[in-house]
Symmetry: C2
Subunit: 389 residues, 2 copies
């Protein structure tokens, strides 16, 4: 597995758009990163014009940004339809997808209809999958408005909905035409979502770039305080690493799986607690702690480096103690339906020294030990208590 | 638009497998055509081995062939799961797709699970779409058991389910690894389905090959009598023409749309009567009559050639008089949601001389005239009467 991510391409300020290209032959596209992109006509240059554009968003984001996006699309499409979905991971299902299809069909959307995904990871994943399926594929543009979506989910073409038996089980690899990451949209993001997004930013350090890990350690307080220059750097570097990985392995037949560091344990937490109880980034943060611990017990990672990972996740305000769920067997059952599993064998993304990831199975006994050492029934109780009745 | 289909590659007998390659770079594959392929281990050579294979079929076809297919897969997969769907176009929906996903997840299907689609067009379209979506894509093999599926729907990677507002509205372009067209499976096919399949065979003449049209005129009685040599020739020539078209335009951005000759009117009939009341091939047969008539009124096709098309469809036992549905506006509304429509403008596949197709819009008034001349309320009444209460 290649160990070196490409060098950083630094742009001078958060205001000036930065361009990170994703090289995928005919499906290549750019990620644009900068403050104020949403309202800048230049952001839309070269995107297709057609009779209908559909803005897909949710009840939280649409009131903030849908009109501003529609104003920019006005000259490019004769009609603009806005589809507002209920907010949250527990609506990431086929029934919600159908609301998009119903709206497209009612508005006589055709194969040239352009879908704009305006929102976080859930909106992006569902809009992208709807674009992949509607009339067997229509063009779409990602306009991510959460940190998590800007650094991870909007980039790389993974789209999906959840199935009751597993997260993101039903989906497609389908690339957008462009990603517009307007850093100004992060201003309205709740702190909890900034922290959840930082989980995916932190992820890129251990798997691909030890220097970036050092940088995050030094700049975490600035990131939590939403310092514009710090956020611009974090988003750009995250996208560069993701672009490098995705360009080499679009359909996750090898290298790309390293982007799932923390996700195997994380998915078990999300499925076990019920989707949406913890934010995806929170579950991934805790999952990275467990995977770091497992890497250490397998002798891949020294104890000091594992402790640095745990400490950084903790400083970001993310959970570092997991729920117990239904016990070890329950954890293992959730992880066996992970998409990286093969023939029922769970394959973990592990850290083989800071900045380098590998994939391998691990003995059930060792996995169970790690979960036992790092979980607490009080976490389950708190999660249950935090849920609306 | 290219006008010449490639020359026919003749194989000596229906028993010896014929191979029609579909050239799509990394997604290239072969259609194998012959009697007895299902039970011949050579048919499966080179297909992937893995822990799980899922045979997706329906209540009609599974009892006839699922065990024989499973016997061939036994040595290639540790476990074989058979998923039996309800039969018929009215089950071609997302709820039925979910039965496939539920079975795959319950059987711990992973990304290496191979899906075998055993049945007609509905089974093939749904299994293929399930393969496209499950864990964002798993390998699949088409084993078409109807004439319609062997000459059309199993070839070329179009997969889909219906939406209440339109047929095949939700789907994907997703190519199989191989198509195994065992002509012996046609022995058990009801006459009505042979006739419906012949609609798609006949289609290839007017759009691409006047000589093939002549051949069908001369051999229609042999085809209706299921003469093995005639069927082998019809399936092979149909697949060759389809392979030629699909290889040039996989995602239907141009040429491929000619394969939808008769389908714009046909979809309106299916949607208007209710999916499944007429077989797809019956609706397409009648649709080709209307489209031939429209071609003649637009001055593209001489009256003699149009009459030959109508006569051949009639001799095949297919309907040549359409239902009235809810009147002209109802027809137009159904056709405006056709996937070939753009910005609400209906685009028809028309015949520009036997053996040559073109795509263009037509004045609503002229379309309405054609429908009025070629429809009869008695057809609607008969369709209603034939439906189970």
């Amino acid at each position: 597995m290649p160990t070196a991510a490409p060098a950083l391409t630094l742009a001078p300020s958060p205001e000036i758009p930065r361009r990170v290209p994703i090289a995928l032959d005919a499906r290549s596209y750019d990620i644009l990163i900068g403050r104020g992109l949403l309202d800048d006509p230049a952001s839309y240059e070269g995107l297709p014009r057609s009779a209908l554009a559909a803005i897909v968003s949710n009840t939280t984001v649409a009131p903030l940004y849908a009109e501003r996006l529609a104003a920019q699309l006005q000259g490019r499409h004769r009609r603009i339809e806005t589809v507002v979905l209920p907010d949250g991971e527990d609506h990431k299902d086929w029934a919600t997808m159908n609301r998009i299809f119903d709206a497209l069909l009612a508005a006589q959307g055709d194969r040239k209809t352009v879908i704009y995904a305006l929102g976080g990871g859930v909106v992006g994943d569902m809009s992208g999958f709807a674009a992949a399926c509607y009339m067997r594929g229509v063009p779409f543009v990602q306009v991510p408005t959460t940190l998590l979506a800007q650094v991870d989910s909007s980039v790389g073409g993974k789209t999906a909905v959840n199935h009751p038996l597993g997260k993101n089980m039903i989906g497609a690899f389908y690339q957008p035409l462009r990603v517009l990451a307007d850093l100004a949209t992060l201003d309205t993001l709740p702190d909890r979502e900034i922290r959840a997004g930082l989980a995916e930013v932190i992820k890129y350090g251990p798997i691909a770039d030890a220097d970036f890990f050092d940088w995050i350690e030094r700049n975490l307080d600035a990131l939590l305080a939403r310092d514009p220059a710090a956020l611009a750097h974090a988003v750009q570097r995250s996208c560069e690493i993701k672009a490098w990985v995705v360009s080499q392995d679009e359909r996750e037949s090898g290298l790309r799986a390293i982007l799932n560091y923390g996700h195997t344990f994380g998915h078990a937490i999300e499925a076990g607690l019920g989707f949406g109880v913890w934010l995806h980034g929170e579950a991934v943060g805790c999952g990275m702690v467990l995977a770091a611990e497992l890497s250490a017990r397998l002798g891949l990672l020294d104890a000091g480096a594992a402790a640095r990972i745990v400490r950084l996740i903790e400083r970001a305000g993310l959970p570092v103690i997991a729920p117990v769920l239904g016990g070890a067997e329950d954890w293992l059952a959730h992880m066996r339906v992970d998409k990286k599993a093969e023939g029922g064998e769970i394959r973990f993304v592990l850290i083989d020294g800071l900045g380098r990831a590998c994939m391998r199975p691990a003995p059930d006994a060792l996995v169970t030990e790690v979960i036992a050492a790092r979980s607490d029934p009080a976490v389950d109780a708190a999660a249950r208590a935090a849920q609306p009745a």
